[in-house]
């Protein structure tokens, strides 16, 4: 929180472009999908798991959704959310069944499904891009717009609203439902939770189902932003999101993490990237700097927990 504040202040000072409505709103629009995925991944991390496959799963959802919409003769937003959600949850349940059914650790299962999903996707689509998408899907839905004095437009689009809904729903789930608190307990001390009567299977299905739901909705929003479906567009994003969530204070190993921290983690990475762009720093340096920030942020958090 403090780091983000400092960063915003110093960037505002360093670049007069940073603190404009146009820049800030595009920052939100562009990071909507990452935040949606991040809160999904947060739930998995809290439950003591990890998911590598969600970005690829989102691509699978996109392609599958295109076929479903064609079959339905077009569809609309309502159908869109339902289809993407159901497909996403289904993919999440595949992970959960493998993890629970064969008692395999989550990272192994999701690396396997990451490869399997991507391989199947490339095989069936033959790497084909799709631009011919239903209009409702690719039309920007502007929720708020504003023209500043210099004539530039600032706007907030549908993905930002969807992100907000996802964030609030996740917050309610993990903070205010018995399921959510069981997820924390399960991630914190799996044996203790099982002895207290927490259903291990239920926890895996809730965590990965929620991750899948967020993956699907994120995929749906991604198409709305980029107006195309490309099989390898999302692959690789999973590690960026993972880093941001961990940066936001979620513990690899379970039991700790908050929605607020998670959103701040994504925004911190986004603001850094945005600021560096505006300052004209080479994009190649960007990854390096993000790496350094993550190390710094995590080591300072850990230091404060260390006993004297």
């Amino acid at each position: 929180m403090l780091v983000l504040g400092l960063l915003v202040v110093s960037l505002s000072a360093a670049s007069d472009q940073f603190l404009t409505a146009g820049n800030l709103t595009s920052l939100l629009n562009n990071n909507a999908v990452n935040v949606i995925w991040a809160v999904g991944l947060l739930v998995v991390l809290i439950a003591g798991g990890i998911d590598i496959s969600f970005a690829v799963a989102a691509s699978v959802v996109q392609y599958a959704a295109v076929s479903v919409f064609e079959a339905l003769g077009g569809g609309n937003w309502l159908i869109g959310f339902a289809v993407a959600g159901v497909l996403g949850v289904a993919l999440g349940f595949i992970n959960a069944s493998l993890i629970h059914g064969f008692r395999i650790i989550t990272i192994v299962v999701t690396i396997a499904t990451f490869n399997a999903f991507f391989g199947l996707l490339m095989f069936f689509t033959k790497g084909r891009f799709i631009y011919n998408l239903p209009d409702w899907w690719t039309t920007r839905v502007v929720l708020w717009e504003h023209q500043s004095a210099d004539g530039r437009w600032a706007e907030l689009n549908l993905p930002v609203l969807v992100t907000l809904v996802c964030v609030v729903l996740t917050w309610v789930l993990i903070r205010h439902t018995t399921l959510g608190r069981q997820l924390y307990a399960f991630g914190d001390n799996p044996d203790g939770a099982a002895r207290a009567g927490v259903s291990v299977a239920l926890m895996q299905f809730v965590a990965f189902g929620w991750m899948g739901l967020m993956a699907g909705i994120g995929g749906l929003m991604q198409v709305n932003i980029t107006q195309e479906v490309v099989p390898n567009a999302l692959i690789g994003r999973e590690l960026d999101v993972l880093a941001a969530v961990v940066l936001g204070g979620a513990r690899l190993g379970g039991g700790r993490g908050t929605v607020v921290g998670c959103v701040l983690g994504v925004l911190l990475v986004a603001v850094t990237q945005n600021g560096l762009n505006l300052l004209g720093v080479s994009p190649f340096a960007f990854k390096m700097i993000i790496g350094a920030i993550i190390l710094l942020a995590i080591s300072t958090t850990n230091l404060s927990f260390r006993r004297p």
Partner: protein, 501 residues
């Protein structure tokens, strides 16, 4: 005996057996506890006590043919949730707490687990937790994560958790093993109070005196079989030990004249602010120096400094006449100091690794062959030597340490440190979680090591332990050494009364 069972018993088991992978953990056991009775379940580690508890609480299913009645109703194929719905609660030995979650949530956790997901009222959790703590007469900050609490308070949290949800039968598995005498007394008081309100309590403890004190009857189990059910009114600790182990132990104090032996460790006016102050002590070659006092007296903190893990603000120490400065525990190991920590399970052993790997861990560099690679043969020899010398009961050296009983794990820790060939051995509560029978074995080893010339600092909160096993006893209170006793010149009772005063 009949008085406690006139009403319908809280729990009644007949012909309960349980087999794990060919091993008969329980063999045709009967067990009965009356409502409102404080009942003790006694037996050595691995005798089947935990298995029995797990069966009554629905964690394990017994072999066919068993009869289980709870409050007069026969039950079958019960799950942990159903057991709790019937008013059965357990305080597990390895705390089943959630370290990252708040005190309030830990205490009221069982209300979070139900058939249907629903909204959580954090206010209600706090109220429930507050009530449970209040009934124990204790206050703990409700929003702190449990990981920040000392062990004694975590134990209170675990007990409070059992009280939420109106338990009518509470199993307490080693509830006092990490408590000081005052805390134990308070817990026993709580147990009596609960029993007076009709709650049945099954108490499992290694501290036999307190068992006899608090329980009205005791069921003794050995090797998964029932040895007998006895009234505690005419029971003594030595008779109970005999029943549990099938062996006879007698304790006598040591008397050895070590005044001519050379001094191995000399500590002068050692001070670390907030932990201990002005500590001066010496341990001679071959001497066992006992250090006792309540938890929080600064004993473990002192041990950490002696082992180089923390630095003293003032004062100095010398080993074998030479002053030493320790910057880390590697320094300490190099000059010949070994430390067996209090927290064996988390710090002393790597549970998932094999017995062999654990034993040779501190001396790996020495076990390389000339090529620089680890020598399988040297590792095998070292492991075999210590398994033999400390008579560790193991299956194969490749088995995970977690498969061993508490007493045998403690021996593995000991041998791990003895491989470093230390000159000073610090033992911090070496019998926590170790059975009576196995304890004697651990102390036999301690005596043998001392006789071989090792200087030993024996830290324990059980006064009787240092009284019977040390040549000299130091009493530490609030960071200072406040008493220095020879067991031959004071009785155990008067020593205990000074320390627990």
């Amino acid at each position: 005996m009949e008085a406690a069972t006139v009403a319908v018993p809280a729990v009644r088991l007949r012909h309960v057996s349980k087999v794990f992978g060919g091993v008969r953990a329980l063999d045709d056991l009967d067990f009965e506890v009356g409502q409102g009775e404080v009942h003790c379940l006694a037996g050595e580690n691995g005798c089947g006590k935990s298995t029995l508890i797990k069966i009554v609480t629905g964690v394990h299913t017994p072999e066919p043919g068993a009869e289980i009645e709870l409050f007069g109703e026969p039950v079958q194929g019960m799950t942990p949730l159903e057991a709790r719905a019937r008013g059965i609660a357990v305080i597990w030995q390895e705390f089943a707490l959630f370290p990252e979650m708040s005190v309030a949530e830990n205490i009221a956790f069982d209300t979070l687990v139900g058939a249907r997901p629903r909204r959580v009222s954090h206010a209600r959790l706090r109220t429930l937790a507050q009530e449970a703590l209040a009934s124990l007469g204790i206050s703990i900050e409700l929003d702190e994560p449990v990981s920040t609490l000392p062990i004694a308070k975590r134990q209170i949290v675990a007990i409070a958790r059992a009280l939420v949800g109106d338990a009518r039968l509470i199993f307490m598995d080693e509830p006092t093993s990490s408590l000081t005498q005052t805390e134990t007394d308070r817990l026993l008081e709580i147990v009596r109070r609960l029993s007076a309100t009709g709650v049945a309590i099954v108490f499992v403890s290694h501290r036999l005196a307190e068992v006899i004190d608090v329980a009205s009857r005791v069921t003794v189990v050995r090797d998964g079989r029932l040895v007998g059910v006895h009234d505690t009114a005419d029971m003594t600790t030595s008779r109970l030990t005999e029943l549990m182990t099938g062996q006879n132990f007698d304790q006598s104090i040591r008397f050895r004249d070590l005044s001519t032996a050379t001094v191995m460790l000399e500590v002068t006016r050692l001070t670390r602010k907030g932990e201990y102050e002005d500590v001066t002590l010496r341990i001679r070659r071959g001497e066992v120096l006992g250090l006792t006092g309540l938890i929080g007296a600064g004993r473990t903190e002192l041990a950490h400094t002696l082992f180089g893990m923390t630095r003293a603000d003032r004062g100095g120490m010398s080993l074998d006449g030479k002053p030493v400065e320790l910057d880390s525990n590697r320094d300490a190991m190099r000059v010949g100091i070994a430390y067996v920590s209090e927290d064996r399970l988390s710090l002393g052993l790597i549970q998932q690794q094999s017995i062999a790997d654990n034993i040779v861990l501190p001396v790996l560099p020495r076990l390389s062959s000339p090529s620089g690679l680890l020598s399988r043969r040297r590792i095998g020899d070292t492991v075999a030597r210590w398994v033999r010398e400390l008579s560790i009961r193991i299956g194969r050296p490749e088995d995970a340490v977690s498969t061993l009983s508490g007493g045998n794990q403690q021996r593995v820790v000991l041998s791990k440190w003895l491989t470093t060939e230390p000159r000073l051995l610090i033992l911090d509560c070496p019998t926590v979680g170790v059975d009576v029978g196995a304890r004697a074995g651990v102390f036999d080893i301690v005596q043998r090591l001392a006789d071989q010339g090792l200087a030993i600092l024996l830290i324990s909160d059980e006064v009787s332990e240092v009284y019977f096993n040390a040549d000299r006893v130091l009493h530490m209170a609030e960071g200072r050494i406040v008493g220095d006793y020879l067991p031959g010149e004071i009785t155990l009772e008067s020593l205990e009364s000074r320390i627990y005063a």
